[in-house]
Assembly symmetry: C2
Homo-oligomer: 265 residues x 2
């Protein structure tokens, strides 16, 4: 499972405050904690600061990569901010995110075209978030074609089918899960990713529902997630589901987590 640590996000109050105060140590601690907990990418987002996004985003990339040997997931739909951040990024970054929305396409494709970088591709268009698997597949097909046409590699594409709350429509969970399987089957080598917490919106015990849904999504083929790697219960479910899905040789990651006292169940 490719884990994108989501915590350094300016929509979170404490992070916004740390960014504004230039509190390098606070941000770096969160980056290190996520890396130690198993993140493969550190998401950085400065979108809450419209006027200074380029400056802050670049600063986040810089200070994060000072302390962790990981690529960032650069979380912005804003070309100048992305380009500034890309300039100083070390290694192969992930860009979060493009979609089939016309304005976003037009802005982002020139930034991405022909580059060796990973990109999160949201299954949404100007018509809004699709409801069914078939509608998601249609958008995914078009979006993937567009990215390949712009010289991005299939294996660098991380499609997010976008989950919606099951409390709104009971089919929303299974339509998402089925989309994961279909996308993984139709485009061998591609990835699917999601931030799955929307699924539980409006229901009690959301963290429990999110963990359960993670296991279900892994069974259906999901191979990446934007999540909080410091959530040890969620990480334990990821480890268990990966072992059960045959993605953990000799179950060693699971067994080692158990031996290291890291399972929290």
């Amino acid at each position: 499972m490719i884990i994108i640590g989501e915590l350094i996000n300016s929509t979170r109050k404490a992070i916004a405050a740390a960014i504004e105060a230039g509190d390098k140590a606070a941000i770096q601690k969160i980056a290190k904690d996520q890396a130690e907990a198993g993140a493969h990418y550190i998401d950085v987002n400065a979108g809450a600061f419209k006027d200074r996004e380029d400056e802050y985003l670049t600063w986040l990339v810089k200070i994060v990569q000072e302390v962790v040997d990981l690529p960032c997931c650069i979380d912005s739909p804003n070309p100048p901010a992305l380009e500034a951040a890309l300039k100083i990024h070390k290694g192969i970054p992930m860009i979060n995110s493009i979609s089939l929305e016309k304005e976003r396409q037009d802005k982002l494709l020139p930034v991405l075209a022909g580059k060796d970088l990973k990109v999160v591709a949201l299954c949404t268009s100007d018509a809004g978030i699709p409801r069914t698997t078939a509608d998601r597949l249609k958008i995914a097909d078009e979006l993937i074609k567009l990215l390949l046409d712009h010289q991005l590699k299939l294996e660098n594409v991380y499609v997010d089918p976008l989950v919606q709350p099951v409390a709104t429509d009971k089919a929303f969970g299974i339509e998402f899960l089925e989309s994961v399987t279909q996308i993984m089957t139709r485009f061998p080598g591609i990835h699917t990713v999601c931030g799955l917490s929307n699924v539980s919106f409006g229901l009690p015990q959301r963290k429990f529902l999110n963990r359960t849904f993670m296991a279900m999504a892994i069974a259906k083929g999901l191979d990446a997630a934007i999540m909080d790697p410091l959530d040890r219960q969620m990480m334990s479910v990821v480890l268990a589901a990966e072992a059960l899905a045959g993605r953990d040789n000799f179950c060693m990651n699971y067994i080692n987590a158990y031996r290291g006292g890291k399972l929290e169940i």
Copy 2:
């Protein structure tokens, strides 16, 4: 989810003792507890008593149905015991289980043929438990054909693809899960069932692994399980996974369990 309460099984020491002692109250309490916890069938097994299986099995059916308004899952490969138990059973029972093993077929088909009863059909043959999805599908095809040829209804068949431990071969979990999807897709109206605890054999925190695997199996289409309905953590995962899989209208079962203080997470 169709839940078959597994606790009244003579391979369990306390149950064997209660059967031998004729301790009706003890057995009836376990039947009632399972019914209250949400079981749809009460499994009864007296197989530990070779010489008195018919007598004990019939007694179990009788005393269980005195206190719960549920059908039994009559757990025996032994025709005289089955026939004796069927004679006094009220409602439509489930028989656990037939397989493609020649001896079992020959013994059980005459008992089942043309009857309106449910049957657990194990994906195994004289060649042993299959390892791959393809091998399971081959056995399932043959076994289902055999049952239909003997005038059993497709919707009365509960195929158990038989899970093996992921600690033995990391592919065993996913081959099972994929079999569930394939069987449910190829035979609309059929059911899949399992006792999934084998999957975690040899690994630490087995109950946690089993719960996680349950969520994964529900995502792949499993609609019945032979399990302990008194395991509240497992039942909570079943409720959550059912809501997330779109099988719980307005998530009301989940929400009611939460409100009733029954979720244990």
